[in-house]
């Protein structure tokens, strides 16, 4: 036990004795410090009524204490006099009854007064429905399921349909008191003084008024309406389809490594070319006097002569491509050489139909022809700053239009009339002038990932399909932002296409829907294009999350082709 305490006054240590310690303890426990003190000693009544022999105080009482007060007497006599004279009356009791009078002079005239600023009257209590009746029609009563639902919402009563359980009584006499009545009134009082109020605009329009007025699709015919042919033959998903410039045949490239040429009128597969690797793209040369099909197979781009159609053209094409033009003193730069090589075609390949073979340094995603049929471009997404190449058929030369990487390039497109080149990167579409060799415009899509694009035959409008479900219509004269963003699809849009003659465009998506829209472009610059969806076509099946992969219009007829992941190609007329 600690007994040593520092004396603050002297600064010396003092050792407490047992007595001191007890003293401290008694003080701590609220007792009288002295342990010998008798707390319950008998009481001595010093100032008692008993007269002592020797009084404690010996002062005699004053005389006034025995006499009535004079001042009091004066006061009382004054009061008596006032009462006699009728001056003093008892105070009238204030009436507790309220006094009502005519507060308003007239029914609807308001006096000038200060009032609550911008008063919002409280909404009235909702009036009862049939369910609240003491004798409702029996359909309003809860069945077992509804009763269970009611019980399950004990913790969140605001989610219930009513704030009471509907009851049915045989007669009025049986109706009991409603338990929550006072509570509901109290809740209303709370709402009145505690609930924040605001003015809300109530909508008076109907849902129908929000739907735009569009021309009837019947008036916008012709457009494809029905699936009239299904081309089966591929053993894997069909990546790409392309139409012969005469409109008699079309070719399809599939993941099973084959390119098939089909006749449209009969539905027969005319030719099959096997390559043994994934065919990513096929594109027919638009020159009608040539019979050439560009095929992108892995890192090769092959121009094949499919050998269908006019024999004269087939022979002429073979003749034209059999001899290589003189390159003179042209030597491709190292950059081009590293990226692409025109390889000579041997006998074996020639017999397979291959006329020209161009080897690329990376996998080729897309091949697209210029409208004249002499130039064509190929895209390698992984090619970095050499991802786009433009090849010339007549001179067998290649060139790289881009010096620097512009991001992941998705697809490219030649302008149908002017020397303009479109390059779609992941989020933007860059428009280049090929003569001036400079960028003219950058179309900002605002989408996350562009998948495909197509240009109107007039050349002033571009549609862009994106993997984030949107199709964007760009009017090149109007702005670099989309004129309209169309959210037609429930899944990624894989392919978009314009019709060459009719005002139609289509979009195919992974949700297996092919949507045909009427897209009228007016010559008048003041009038904006008219876009009306006219038909939703469904036919393809889903295969490992892929739906429609490629779509294309017939060049003369209002027909549309679609190739899907379900190994088929469908023709809608």
């Amino acid at each position: 036990m600690l007994r040593t305490v520092k004396d603050l006054q002297t600064g010396q240590n003092v050792v407490l004795s047992d007595k001191d310690l007890e003293f401290v303890k008694r003080i701590q426990s609220g007792k009288i410090p002295d342990s010998n003190f008798d707390n319950f000693a008998p009481w001595i009544d010093w100032f008692s009524s008993d007269v002592m022999d020797t009084p404690l105080r010996s002062m005699p009482p004053s005389k006034t204490s025995f006499l009535p007060s004079k001042i009091d007497k004066m006061k009382i006599s004054k009061m008596v006099h006032a009462i006699k004279m009728g001056w003093m009356k008892p105070k009238p009791k204030p009436s507790t009854e309220p006094n009502f009078y005519m507060l308003w002079e007239s029914d609807d005239k308001a006096d000038e007064m200060r009032r609550v600023h911008d008063h919002i009257p409280a909404p009235k209590v909702r009036l009862p429905s049939n369910a609240e009746s003491y004798n409702p029609p029996s359909e309003y009563l809860f069945d077992e399921k509804e009763m269970k639902d009611w019980d399950s919402k004990d913790d969140e009563p605001w989610k219930r349909r009513y704030n009471f359980i509907p009851q049915k009584y045989k007669s009025l006499r049986e109706v009991p008191a409603y338990d929550n009545y006072t509570r509901e009134r109290f809740q209303r009082c709370l709402d009145l003084y505690l609930c924040p109020r605001a003015k809300k605009m109530r909508l008076t329009i109907k849902a129908e008024d929000l739907v735009p007025q569009l021309p009837n699709p019947k008036d916008l015919q012709p457009f494809p309406t029905i699936c009239s042919m299904i081309f089966k033959g591929h053993s894997h998903m069909v990546r790409s389809i392309t139409l012969e410039p005469h409109g008699q045949f079309f070719a399809s490239g599939s993941e099973d490594g084959t390119v098939k040429v089909w006749e449209i009128a009969t539905g027969r597969c005319m030719k099959t070319f096997e390559f043994g690797c994934v065919i990513r793209w096929v594109e027919w040369c638009p020159n009608k006097s040539l019979s050439l099909l560009a095929v992108a197979a892995d890192s090769d781009v092959m121009l094949i002569n499919p050998g269908v159609g006019d024999k004269l053209i087939i022979e002429k094409t073979d003749l034209l491509l059999s001899e290589t033009p003189d390159q003179g003193d042209y030597h491709p730069s190292e950059r081009v050489k590293g990226a692409v090589q025109w390889e000579p075609v041997d006998e074996e390949k020639w017999s397979k139909g291959i006329r020209i073979l161009i080897r690329h340094f990376k996998n080729v995603n897309q091949v697209t022809w210029h409208a004249k049929g002499d130039y064509f471009a190929s895209v390698m997404s992984d090619g970095q700053n050499r991802s786009v190449l433009i090849h010339q058929l007549s001179s067998r030369r290649s060139q790289l239009p881009l010096n620097r990487s512009k991001g992941l390039i998705q697809c490219v497109l030649f302008h149908p009339i002017r020397p303009i080149f479109f390059i779609a990167t992941q989020r933007h579409v860059r428009v280049y002038d090929l003569l001036k060799q400079e960028m003219v415009k950058k179309l900002i899509s605002g989408a996350k990932w562009i998948s495909s694009m197509s240009i109107h035959p007039g050349g002033d409008n571009v549609i862009v399909g994106t993997y984030d479900k949107k199709v964007m219509w760009f009017d090149l004269d109007l702005s670099t932002k989309p004129y309209q963003t169309l959210r037609f699809h429930g899944n990624a849009v894989r392919s978009v296409a314009f019709h060459k003659r009719y005002p139609l465009f289509a979009s195919g998506s992974d949700d297996c829907n092919l949507i045909i829209s009427h897209g009228m472009v007016y010559n008048d610059l003041l009038q904006n294009p008219l876009i009306v969806p006219v038909k939703k076509l469904r036919g393809h099946d889903k295969f490992s999350d892929f739906g429609i992969l490629s779509i294309m219009f017939h060049n003369m007829q209002p027909w549309v082709f679609s190739s899907g992941a379900d190994k088929t190609i469908r023709l809608y007329t």
């Binding site: 209590v125 003491y134 359909e139 509907p166 003084y193 929000l210 009837n216 959210r487």
Partner: protein, 593 residues
């Protein structure tokens, strides 16, 4: 360069004040502020941009308009509230010191305040006051049933009772009652006063139910009632004067002595005043009018309607006015005797408000005007099975008949409302179905009746006949099918007998060879057209502007929800109807066997 603008120093940030700021500004405690807000009708406001209004604070605050708080600053009652605080302190002190003289002096000088000016301020015109009468009446009716509670003095409940009785008297005298409804919560009444519809609820007639203090705070409600009593008093005063009735109300009949009145009512009352007030509260006698001069309000002539372009609307308005006119004297000339088990006050009020006369057993309550033995009684309202003592000259009916008649604005046939009968459902007159909502068949009948397609008697008869007829038709159909099947079997068997075995073999051979006739595809033109329009619609909805897409989806969702609700009720009804009609059928069949 202009002056740099600081954040939250203009615009919405300065227009609002949080409650804490308001309390500081007014120098009041929260309790007093609450009372002041209730009395003055100040309420929090929802700002357009809460973050700005709260000066960047993200928690949710109770925001008042700054102007409202400034308005409170000039209220004389604020001083009275402060005086009241001082009064309570003084009273407490005197009590603690057992100083009776001081206590009496303090209590006698209790600071009182009047709310007259606040009533005028909150309701600049009389019409405004009537428009806001719903909550006032509902709460006053509730408080009129309360005993003396801790925060509700007895004088408050008795004042509530007095004011509600006065108001009911006005509705009776003005014939203003329009709709009534018995709900499980209470009685709903709707009256039309000065062109405004006023709806109030009266709880079922039972004693006071104690409430737990966590759920109901009577202090808050009492503050509301304090204000509402003032409003209702002034409103009653003006309403009574608009009909030239004396205020406070006095009975029209000459006042007899207490003894005489006691004799007629066979009830003993010591205090004459009490007896008179009880008789006023009975609602069964007309009130004394100050003069016989024509009242202010007059029924407008039919051709005085405001000119509207829509002829149909005008026609509808005229018809409505005609119906209301009929309702005002619906029970004219009818005499009702109320059994002791029915809610006397509610029924007496309703019957008298549409022109009828009512009475009850004088032993039970003052104000009875005729006896049960009176032969001129046309209806006796009873809610229990028939007693032995019956009068032939009157209908015995259940109370629901009165409610349904007023809602239908016609005298309904009584046969469905006889004592012990299964009552037809009691429907809410307030619920107007929008397009696509569920409407119970009973309501449809009423709607047809209102449109004038069928008379009330026809409506009931048709409904009955329809049900029976349908049943019969169903039975017929079943029989027909059975017969046809029988016939078909017979024919087949006959043919089989006729055929020889050879022929049969040939037939089998032929059967094997024969080309089955393809069925022509039946194109349902209607369905095709329907599908086409549907698809067109779907294509059009794809072109809704992105701005409106959410709204459109929301609207369609709510519509779908409503339709689902309606379908749910309709299918439930069909199920119930089927189950109820099947049972008697089964019994029929069993009888036949």
């Amino acid at each position: 360069m202009g002056k740099i603008k600081k954040k939250y120093e203009s615009g919405e940030a300065t227009a609002f004040m949080s409650r804490k700021m308001a309390l500081r500004k007014l120098q009041l405690s929260l309790k007093m502020f609450r009372k002041l807000c209730i009395l003055k009708g100040i309420y929090p406001r929802e700002p357009k941009n809460r973050k700005k209004a709260q000066k960047g604070a993200t928690d949710k605050k109770t925001l008042y308009l700054k102007k409202d708080i400034q308005f409170l600053l000039h209220e004389p009652i604020v001083w009275k509230l402060r005086e009241h605080k001082v009064y309570l302190r003084k009273k407490g002190r005197a009590k603690a010191l057992h100083d009776k003289v001081a206590l009496k002096r303090v209590v006698d000088n209790k600071p009182m305040y009047k709310l007259d000016h606040i009533v005028k301020e909150r309701y600049p015109t009389f019409i405004d006051a009537i428009r806001d009468l719903d909550d006032c009446l509902t709460l006053t009716f509730l408080f009129s049933t309360f005993p003396s509670l801790r925060f509700v003095p007895g004088s408050m409940s008795s004042l509530c009772r007095r004011l509600t009785v006065e108001f009911l008297h006005y509705v009776i005298e003005a014939r203003a009652l329009r709709k009534v409804f018995v709900s499980i919560k209470g009685y709903y009444y709707q009256a039309e006063i000065k062109g405004q519809t006023v709806t109030w609820i009266v709880p079922h007639y039972f004693g006071f139910q104690p409430q737990s203090p966590d759920e109901v705070d009577f202090r808050i409600m009492a503050t509301f009632v304090e204000f509402y009593n003032t409003v209702l008093g002034f409103t009653n005063f003006r309403l009574f004067h608009s009909l030239n009735i004396c205020y406070p109300p006095k009975l029209l009949t000459p006042r007899g002595t207490a003894e005489e009145l006691n004799a007629t009512n066979r009830l003993h009352w010591d205090n004459e005043e009490d007896l008179v007030s009880e008789r006023v509260a009975a609602l069964n006698q007309s009130l004394l009018r100050s003069s016989d001069a024509p009242v202010e309000e007059q029924v407008p002539e039919m051709d005085e309607f405001p000119v509207t372009d829509d002829a149909e609307k005008l026609e509808e308005m005229k018809r409505e006015a005609e119906r209301v006119k009929k309702l005002k004297n619906l029970f004219g000339g009818l005499k009702f005797y109320l059994g002791r088990e029915v809610p006397r006050e509610a029924l007496c009020f309703m019957i008298r408000a549409v022109g009828g006369q009512a009475s009850w057993n004088g032993d039970l309550f003052p104000g009875a005007t005729f006896d049960e033995s009176d032969d001129t009684i046309t209806h006796q309202i009873t809610d229990r099975n028939l007693e032995n003592k019956q009068h032939v000259s009157r209908y015995y009916i259940q109370p629901q008949w009165v409610f349904d008649c007023i809602n239908a604005r016609a005298l309904l046939p009584v046969d469905k409302y006889f004592p012990g009968a299964v009552l037809p459902p009691h429907l809410s007159p307030f619920h107007t179905e929008r397009e696509g909502d569920y409407m119970p068949p009973e309501k449809r009948k009423f709607v047809d009746m209102e449109k004038g397609i069928v008379t009330p008697e026809d409506a009931f008869e048709l409904a009955n006949a329809g049900e029976e007829g349908e049943q019969e038709e169903e039975d017929d159909d079943d029989d027909d099918i059975d017969e046809e099947e029988d016939e078909g079997d017979l024919e087949a068997s006959e043919e089989d007998e006729e055929l020889d075995e050879d022929e049969r073999a040939l037939k089998d051979l032929k059967k094997q060879m024969k080309v089955t006739k393809g069925e022509a595809e039946i194109i349902d033109e209607l369905k095709k057209r329907d599908d086409e329009t549907k698809e067109q619609w779907r294509l059009r909805t794809m072109m809704i502007k992105n701005k409106h897409k959410r709204l459109y989806r929301k609207m369609m969702d709510s519509r779908r929800k409503r339709r689902r609700e309606a379908d749910r009720l309709a299918s439930k009804r069909i199920q119930i109807d089927e189950s109820t009609t099947k049972k008697p059928k089964k019994t029929k069949k069993s009888k036949a066997k």
